[in-house]
């Protein structure tokens, strides 16, 4: 474990769906300010892990700690308000709401404090400007292209007043290179400016190499490797599991 105190931890986190063990005693420790990648083949349990951490699913055993405080049993909105925010693989933007309202919605988490909200609206305008969506501020979000929706959803997370740790579930899937770059830059910027922690689930190895110093490999519900992407890529067992070969 490295020097900085972990902001997000899981201890022996397990989730069973019927006879299928989706997460098997996951011990994960993520330092404040880190950008951590999580990779693994389809069905490895990556989304389950995120759902367990954000209260969408309840674990069968184990614990999730945000800055030392257990999150198990908390409701999704309580966890979001505590600063552990997520994005979804399938975009959860509010289609009939304007772009601006989509970015104002997370300000609801700030319990009626006028200043936070006024500041937040200014930030929403800055983010839209930053992402080249300013002229669409009042248009309904359903008019956006797929890539623009991804940007909007990611931006909405940055609007959470208490945000400390941001979990992004496959943010780059099916996104064109220009938008991918915009999103990467946004993550790097917010990371630098606010010292935010990120956990990014992705299959895009080039992006992971660029963003994450450390990557965790999840296979069949278990952590099988942790380290830099280059270290991991050289491990025979990881390659074998990724390619679906049995150990020879």
């Amino acid at each position: 474990m490295n020097g900085a105190a972990p902001i997000l931890e899981t201890r022996g986190l397990s989730k069973r769906f019927g006879g299928f063990l989706a997460n098997d005693a996951i011990d994960l420790s993520i330092s404040a300010g880190e950008i951590r990648g999580i990779i693994g083949p389809n069905g490895a349990g990556k989304s389950t892990l995120i759902n367990l951490m954000t209260g969408v699913l309840q674990p069968n055993s184990g614990d999730v700690l945000l800055a030392g405080e257990s999150l198990v049993g908390r409701k999704p909105h309580e966890i979001a308000r505590k600063g552990l925010v997520r994005s979804f693989q399938v975009s959860r933007i509010f289609g009939n709401l304007s772009l601006l309202d989509n970015l104002r919605a997370p300000l609801l988490a700030a319990v009626s404090t006028r200043d936070v909200r006024a500041e937040g609206v200014a930030k929403a305008h800055r983010l839209l400007e930053r992402l080249g969506l300013a002229r669409l501020a009042d248009a309904p979000a359903k008019t956006l292209s797929g890539g623009q929706r991804v940007l909007l959803q990611a931006a909405a997370g940055f609007m959470m007043p208490s945000l400390s740790c941001y979990l992004l579930d496959e943010p780059f899937a099916g996104v064109n290179p220009v938008i991918k770059d915009q999103l990467i830059e946004l993550i790097e910027e917010e990371s630098r400016a606010r010292g935010l922690t990120f956990v990014i689930v992705s299959h895009e190895m080039a992006v992971m190499r660029r963003l994450c110093r450390k990557v965790t490999v999840l296979i069949q519900g278990r952590i099988v490797a942790e380290g830099s992407l280059d270290e991991i890529a050289s491990r025979a067992d990881v390659i074998a599991a990724y390619l679906g070969r049995s150990f020879a």
Binding site: H77, F88, R92, F94, G95, A105, P106, L108
Partner: protein, 297 residues
């Protein structure tokens, strides 16, 4: 017997009653949008509103303060809904129930029977009226009763207030976001289960307000909500489930269709003309005028 004056009269009468029916439709569609359920006991919340209005006007404030009574009646019904929601409706989301639509249907129909029979047991089957001393008015060529015109104006004011709440306040933003995606709203830190209580309260409160406003126009009795509720459901099918402008426009359309039909075809079939309109809309646009087709996820 066609004449422009008769047509104008029927048109105005239709708009007046249509806006009041729209209040009921708004309540149904609003609860559906947020809580994702059809509340089959809306007519009984209308009935509660009408009895509240009757009691407050007849025994306390008198007919001059009908508008204060209407606000108090609507607030009472809001409060009843706010209390009932966590007991009856919330288990739909927290009780591990798989067939939520079926659950909501059974629970709200049970509530309908309970409230209707309680009203009969307590007040008897008698028809009562809070009375009104508002003078009649001329709406262009149409002489209209004061109570009906007052109900029309109050319904317009309530719809304006409702729209303001939805479009201009933070609570409204939370409600609109939740209606789009409950999961998305939770991710944004919105406590959707507490919001359900408020939304259910507002929805039945709108029905209660319709009941209070129409109490002096129609009579007050245990099943007095049936007709207005039927219209409310017709309106949301015509306008599209979940659409606020749809409820308004379809409400007026239904009122006008019934009024014109009654004037120029035969008044005995007044309630049938709305259904003709409904069938036409279903044939031409099955999702309603403003409805969105549900995407199969």
């Amino acid at each position: 017997m066609w004449s422009l004056e008769l047509f104008t009269q029927a048109l105005i009468a239709g708009v007046v009653i249509g806006v009041i029916y729209a209040l009921m439709a708004l309540g149904i569609t609003f609860i559906y949008s947020i809580v994702k359920m059809i509340n089959w006991s809306m007519g009984e919340f209308y009935m509660l509103g009408s009895y509240a209005q009757y009691l407050i006007v007849a025994y306390w404030l008198g007919p001059d303060l009908w508008y204060v009574a209407a606000i108090l009646s609507a607030a009472t019904v809001f409060f009843v809904g706010w209390l009932i929601e966590p007991i009856l409706i919330k288990p739909m989301f927290t009780g591990g129930i798989e067939r939520r639509d079926d659950y909501a249907t059974v629970v709200t129909i049970a509530l309908l029977l309970l409230l209707r029979n309680l009203a009969t047991a307590i007040s008897g089957p008698y028809q009562r009226t809070p009375g009104s001393n508002l003078p009649g008015v001329m709406l262009g060529p149409l002489p209209e009763s004061g109570a009906r015109f007052a109900a029309f104006l109050a319904a317009l004011a309530a719809i304006a207030l409702f729209t303001f709440l939805l479009k201009r306040t933070w609570l409204g933003l939370a409600l609109r976001a939740t209606s789009q995606s409950r999961v998305g709203a939770q991710t944004a830190g919105v406590d959707v289960l507490s919001l359900d209580k408020i939304a259910f309260g507002i929805g039945v409160g709108l029905a209660g307000l319709a009941g209070a406003l129409l109490a002096p126009v129609f009579m007050v009795y245990p099943t007095d909500g049936v007709v207005t509720t039927t219209k409310g459901f017709e309106i949301i099918v015509i306008g599209g489930l979940g659409s606020v402008p749809g409820a308004l426009i379809a409400g007026v359309a239904l009122g006008v269709a019934e009024s014109l039909g009654a004037t120029f075809i035969a008044s005995a079939y007044q309630n049938a003309y709305g259904f003709v309109l409904l069938l036409l809309v279903l044939a031409l646009r099955p999702s309603g005028l403003f409805g969105e087709r549900l995407r199969q996820a």
